[in-house]
Assembly symmetry: C2
Homo-oligomer: 259 residues x 2
């Protein structure tokens, strides 16, 4: 089966240069703005290497629906995905899927799951590009909603659909060089090779799992089914802990003022 | 008592122009990047009008500590604020306050409470500038942490310190005009004139209170003490509701997978 050759990709990324997206004079080069040109760079590198397999998430949906113009209901369009897990992670909600037509295709949307999708023989790799300014001490970035990942695990278990989807991350560590940004190092990590019991969920920050890709240990030895169950155990435990913290922090101390 | 003349400020802001902070070619002009030049513009307008009263939050702290070089302990520095509520909202935590010295003053920090502080005769107006791209449908922005506001109300009640601090917001509605951004309309709202029982708390989004300044009704007729109590009641009720939602959404549905 055709796969992304990640070591080759990382080699290509090292020392890659992109144009600085804003004027140096305008100060702060913030996370999202800095990330965009590198994300495009990764996309173009992969598209060149795997032209028939690499899509932006919306391109994949447009491509699949355009190739099946006879599928016009949402149920028919959903049936174009053999994997319920991939369908859940990649498709848009009912309304937009129904409204889609060859003359009214999807446009980019900020909360799509993946920046880039590799698709081949019913297998999907969801790929996100995280960028990091080496001159700053940055908090670990938002990776994926812990709740979306919990639902993903539930879909995997309900449908015994464990192998159709991989979720991968690329980290690009860059620094400014005049009017350009240069990648000094690049890293890759596979979410399902990490230990799901050790993922950090930031409940207050839109329930995001947060980590630096370069720091994600790739140590999981169990099956994907075991991963899904272990993640759900950790997720529920973390939610219970959060409920307890909320009670202790946001409710109890204020009761004396409102009685 | 000297006060900010907000109607005069709004008049000055209408039709104000600032330079576009990024290249048009680099695409998205995102929230924070677009906001910076307008925030600076408001600061300079106010500084011109009230030179001895207008500060950035860090400038105020540096100014107060520099004028009292004999106050070297944290307790001494805290005593420079007559209002415990203002102290809570404006000062930095113990470590940085202790480490401050005339040769090691504070630098800008993203999570300061206010963009701009008006200070006069022991009265503080904390002012934040929110910017809005009229060509986009935007969600209401983050205004202030609901938890920080709950603690503020607790300080007000504990110290009967109700009048020392106002919290005000300016909204600037802009559109692109070539290489510039132009303010079409500006709005002002006073947090303590809103109905605290109707503030929306987005628990998942860092517990932020969210609203468009132009949409905030200025209808509160009660005292500031009544405002503080009503807010704490609403905050605790909202926290309890969130706990219930978390239980129902993030715990119960996943229990069947982990037994």
């Amino acid at each position: 089966m055709k796969q992304i050759d990640f070591s080759r990709l990382l080699q290509k990324l090292e020392n890659a240069r992109v144009d600085r997206p804003n004027k140096a004079s305008s100060g702060t080069l913030s996370g999202h703005a800095a990330g965009e040109p590198f994300e495009k760079y990764v996309y173009h590198q992969l598209k060149e290497e795997y032209p028939g397999n690499i899509f932006k998430q919306l391109e994949l949906l447009n491509d699949v629906y355009l190739r099946h113009p006879e599928h016009i209901t949402v149920a028919q369009r959903n049936a174009l995905f053999s994997s319920p897990t991939a369908l859940f992670l990649l498709s848009r909600v009912h309304g937009p899927t129904q409204a889609w037509s060859p003359t009214h295709i999807f446009e980019e949307r900020q909360n799509d799951t993946a920046d880039i999708v590799f698709c081949g023989e019913g297998h999907y790799v969801l790929l996100d590009v995280k960028t990091r300014n080496l001159s700053k001490q940055a908090m670990p970035p938002n990776i994926i909603s812990a709740y979306k990942l919990a639902k993903t695990c539930a879909y995997m278990i309900d449908n015994a659909d464990f192998e159709a989807v991989d979720i991968s991350y690329i980290e690009i560590d860059w620094q400014e060089e005049g009017s350009q940004l240069r990648c000094l190092q690049a890293h890759h990590a596979d979410l399902f090779k990490s230990d799901p019991r050790k993922l950090y969920i930031n409940w207050a920050a839109v329930m995001q799992i947060q980590f630096h890709v370069c720091d994600l240990p790739q140590t999981w030895k169990g099956t994907r089914a075991e991963w899904a169950k272990a993640y759900l155990e950790a997720f529920v435990e973390s939610a219970r802990e959060r409920v307890k913290v909320m009670q202790e922090t946001y409710i109890t101390p204020f009761l004396k003022y409102i009685q």
